[in-house]
C-alpha cells in the first residue's frame, strides 16, 4: 500500500511509525535520540502476488461452495461416522506403533553401522541394503504371506529340539504383520537419518569425553546421541508424516481397518467417491497438523543450549536470570521423552 504512496501521503505515514518507535522504547529498547525513521523499501512483489493469489483463491472457494458434486452434506454425514473414526484410530495406532519400533531399530542400526565391530557393521549395511532396496508394498505382501512360508514358529536349540511352538498365523495377525512390515521398512530409512545426525556432531565432543575417561558406550548415550537428536528430529518428523500416509498401503497385508480403506469401501457402498475422499483428506490433514505441532515442541527441547543467541544479550550476572534458568532446566527434566535418553 505504501508503495503507491506519494510524498504527501508518506508524511502522514510518519506519525504511526514514530508512535511505534516510542512504544518500542517503552518496552525497554534503548533511547536513541536520532533513531532512523525511514519509509520501507518499495516492494511491489507481495502486492502483485496477493492479487493473483486472491483471484485464484476466490475462484477455488466459489467452486467449493457451488460445485454440487462435492456434496458437503455427505461429507458432514460421514466425517464422524463410527467406521471412519475407528479408521482414524487404527491409522494412528499403525503410525505410532510402527514409528516407535522403527526409531529404536534405527538407532540400533546406526550405532552398529558406526561400531568398531566389523560384523555388526556388515549386518547393519545388509539390513539397510535389503529393506531400502525392495518396495514397501512388496514387503507388506510378504509379511501377510509369512504363515504360508513358515507355518510354525518355535523356540528351541537351533537344529535341535524345540521347546515352544506356535502357529505363525496366530502370531502374525494382520495388524501385527502390518506394523512389523511398516516398521522394518521405515527403520532402514531412519537409520540413515540417524547416522547422518551422529556424523554431524563435532568430533571434538567425542575427544573431550574420551579425555575425561568416558567409554564408547557412555559417550554415545550421553554426549553424541543427545546432540544428534537436534539434527535427527526434523527429518524424522517428515518420516512420521510420510508414515501416516504409507499406512494406506497395509491393504497389501491385507489389513482393512485403517482410514483409507474404510473411506474407500464406504464410498463404494454408497457410490459417493468424492465426498469420502474429502473425509479421508480432512482427517489426514488434522493428524498431520497435530504431528507438526508435536515436532516443533520436540525441536525446541533438543535445541536446548544451541539456539539461544537471542537470549544472550539479556544474560547478566543478575540472580533473577540465574533463577529463571534453573527453573527452566528443572522443567525440562520432567519431560518424558528425555528420560529415556538420559537414563
Amino acid at each position: 500500500m505504501s508503495t503507491h504512496a506519494t510524498n504527501g501521503a508518506a508524511d502522514s505515514e510518519k506519525k504511526p511509525a514514530a508512535a511505534r518507535a516510542a512504544s518500542k522504547s517503552a518496552q525497554g529498547a534503548p533511547d536513541i535520540p536520532n533513531r532512523v525513521d525511514a519509509l520501507p523499501q518499495r516492494k511491489p512483489g507481495p502486492i502483485v502476488a496477493a492479487i493473483i493469489v486472491a483471484i485464484f483463491a476466490a475462484q477455488f472457494i466459489h467452486m467449493l461452495v457451488t460445485n454440487e458434486n462435492l456434496e458437503w452434506g455427505v461429507v458432514w454425514t460421514y466425517l464422524f461416522n463410527e467406521h471412519v473414526l475407528s479408521g482414524v484410530g487404527w491409522t494412528l495406532i499403525l503410525t505410532v506403533a510402527s514409528m516407535l519400533i522403527a526409531i529404536v531399530l534405527a538407532i540400533l542400526l546406526a550405532v552398529m553401522r558406526k561400531s568398531s565391530n566389523v560384523v555388526l557393521r556388515g549386518v547393519s549395511w545388509f539390513y539397510i541394503w535389503f529393506f531400502r532396496g525392495t518396495p514397501v508394498y512388496t514387503q507388506l505382501v510378504f509379511w501377510g504371506l509369512i504363515s504360508v512360508l513358515i507355518p510354525k514358529l518355535s523356540i528351541g536349540i537351533p537344529f535341535g529340539p524345540e521347546f515352544w511352538t506356535w502357529d505363525t498365523a496366530d502370531v502374525f495377525t494382520a495388524g501385527r504383520a502390518a506394523v512389523i512390515g511398516l516398521a522394518l521398512n521405515e527403520a532402514a530409512y531412519l537409520a540413515e537419518i540417524v547416522r547422518a545426525g551422529l556424523e554431524a556432531v563435532d568430533p571434538g565432543q567425542r575427544e573431550a569425553a574420551q579425555a575425561l575417561g568416558m567409554g564408547p558406550g557412555l559417550i554415545m548415550r550421553r554426549i553424541i546421541l543427545p546432540q544428534a537428536m537436534r539434527i535427527i528430529i526434523p527429518p524424522t518428523g517428515n518420516e512420521v508424516i510420510g508414515m501416516l500416509k504409507t499406512t494406506s498401503l497395509v491393504l497389501a497385508v491385507p489389513f482393512t481397518l485403517e482410514l483409507q480403506y474404510v473411506t474407500n469401501s464406504l464410498a463404494n457402498r454408497v457410490y459417493k467417491p468424492i465426498p469420502l475422499l474429502i473425509v479421508a483428506a480432512l482427517w489426514y490433514l488434522v493428524i498431520t497438523s497435530i504431528l507438526m505441532f508435536l515436532q516443533s515442541k520436540l525441536e525446541k527441547h533438543f535445541g536446548k543450549g544451541f539456539d539461544i543467541r537471542g537470549e544472550v544479550e539479556q544474560i547478566g550476572p543478575s540472580d533473577s536470570t540465574e533463577a529463571k534458568r534453573s527453573e527452566a532446566s528443572a522443567e525440562d527434566r520432567n519431560d518424558v521423552l528425555m528420560t529415556g535418553l538420559n537414563a
Binding site: D202, G204, Q205, E207, A208, A209, Q210, A211, L212, G213, M214, G215, P216, L218, R222, I223, P226, Q227, R230, F302, K304, G305, F306, I308, R309, E311, V312, I315, P317, E322, R325, S326, S329
Partner: protein
C-alpha cells in the same frame, strides 16, 4: 594361545633417581605417508610445567594428543607414571608382543590425565554445572550431591561458580575455557595437558585463562602446555621444548627463551615476539 600377562613394565629410574611423570621415548607418528613426528623424546618430572613451543605443523599438538591416546603411537613408547600408555606386553606364541589395551583400560588411563582443548569442546547441551558433573557421576560414580559439591568447588577455583546454570553458548570464550579447565581438574588428574588453550580467544580474554593455568602451576600440578604465549612460557615453565619439523630442536630451562642457541629457535622467537 598363550595369554600370559607380564607385569607392567616400568621405566628405568631417571638419573636423579626420581621417576618422571611423563616419559616419551623416541616417538614417531605417521598419518598415511605423512611423517609428522620423527623420533621425539622428552621427560616431564612430577610437579613441573613443560611448555612446548614451535611453529604450526611442527607436531606439538600431535605429541600432546598422543600422551592422552587421542592419537595412536606409530613408533616408540610413552609412559605415564611408569605405566606404558595404550599397550601391554603379552606372550603371544612364545614371543613378547604388544597387545592394544581394551576400551575400558584406555579410558582408565585417560581418566588420570586431564586435557584442555583449543576449541574448549564443552558439551553444548549441558549447563556449566552439568558439564563438570558429567564424568564425576558417570566415570567416577559419585552420587549427584557429591559430584555437585566437587563441581562447584572446581568452578569456584576458576572463578565460574556464578554461572552454574548457563549453557556454554551463553558464555564468552574465556569463560568457556575456564569451565573446560574446571571440568578437567574435577577428575583430580595427575597430569594436565593444555593444547593451545588461548589460541581461540580474543586478546583481552587470554589473561584470565593464563591466570587460571598459572594458579594450577603454583599448586604444583604437573602440566604440559602447548602455546604461543612466550611471556607465559618464560614466567611459568620449568622446562621449555622447541619443536620444528617433527623433532625436538632445543630443550632446556626457561632461560633458553632469552638465549636460544639454535638458529631456527631464534628466528621463531624473533617472529613471535
Amino acid at each position: 594361545m598363550v595369554t600370559n600377562d607380564k607385569a607392567q613394565s616400568t621405566t628405568p629410574s631417571a638419573s636423579d633417581g626420581e621417576r618422571p611423570a611423563i616419559d616419551i621415548r623416541s616417538v614417531h607418528k605417521a598419518f598415511g605417508s605423512l611423517h609428522v613426528l620423527k623420533g621425539v623424546s622428552m621427560q616431564v618430572m612430577p610437579g613441573t610445567v613443560t611448555v612446548v613451543l614451535g611453529p604450526s605443523g611442527s607436531g606439538k599438538s600431535t605429541l600432546l594428543r598422543m600422551i592422552n591416546q587421542l592419537e595412536t603411537v606409530s613408533g616408540g613408547e610413552i609412559y605415564v607414571n611408569g605405566e606404558l600408555q595404550g599397550f601391554k606386553h603379552e606372550m603371544h606364541r612364545g614371543v613378547d608382543r604388544l597387545r592394544c589395551l581394551s576400551d575400558k583400560e584406555v579410558a582408565a588411563q585417560r581418566s588420570r590425565i586431564g586435557m584442555v582443548f583449543q576449541r574448549f569442546n564443552l558439551f553444548p547441551h549441558k549447563t556449566v554445572l552439568e558439564n563438570v558433573m558429567e564424568a564425576l557421576v558417570h566415570v567416577k560414580h559419585m552420587s549427584k550431591d557429591e559430584a555437585k559439591a566437587e563441581a562447584i568447588a572446581d568452578l569456584k577455583r576458576v572463578g565460574m561458580d556464578n554461572r552454574l546454570n548457563h549453557y556454554p553458548s551463553e558464555l564468552s570464550g574465556g569463560q568457556q575455557q575456564r569451565v573446560a579447565i574446571a571440568r578437567a581438574i574435577a577428575m583430580h588428574p595427575q597430569i594436565m595437558l593444555f593444547d593451545e588453550p588461548t589460541s581461540a580467544l580474543d586478546p583481552e580474554l587470554v589473561g584470565e585463562v593464563l591466570g587460571v593455568i598459572r594458579g594450577l602451576a603454583d599448586d604444583g600440578m604437573t602440566m604440559v602446555v602447548v602455546t604461543h604465549e612466550i611471556g607465559f612460557a618464560r614466567e611459568v615453565a620449568d622446562q621449555v621444548v622447541f619443536m620444528d619439523g617433527g623433532v625436538v630442536v632445543e630443550k632446556g630451562g626457561p632461560e633458553i627463551i632469552d638465549n636460544p642457541s639454535n638458529p631456527r629457535f631464534k628466528s621463531f622467537l624473533d617472529s613471535v615476539l
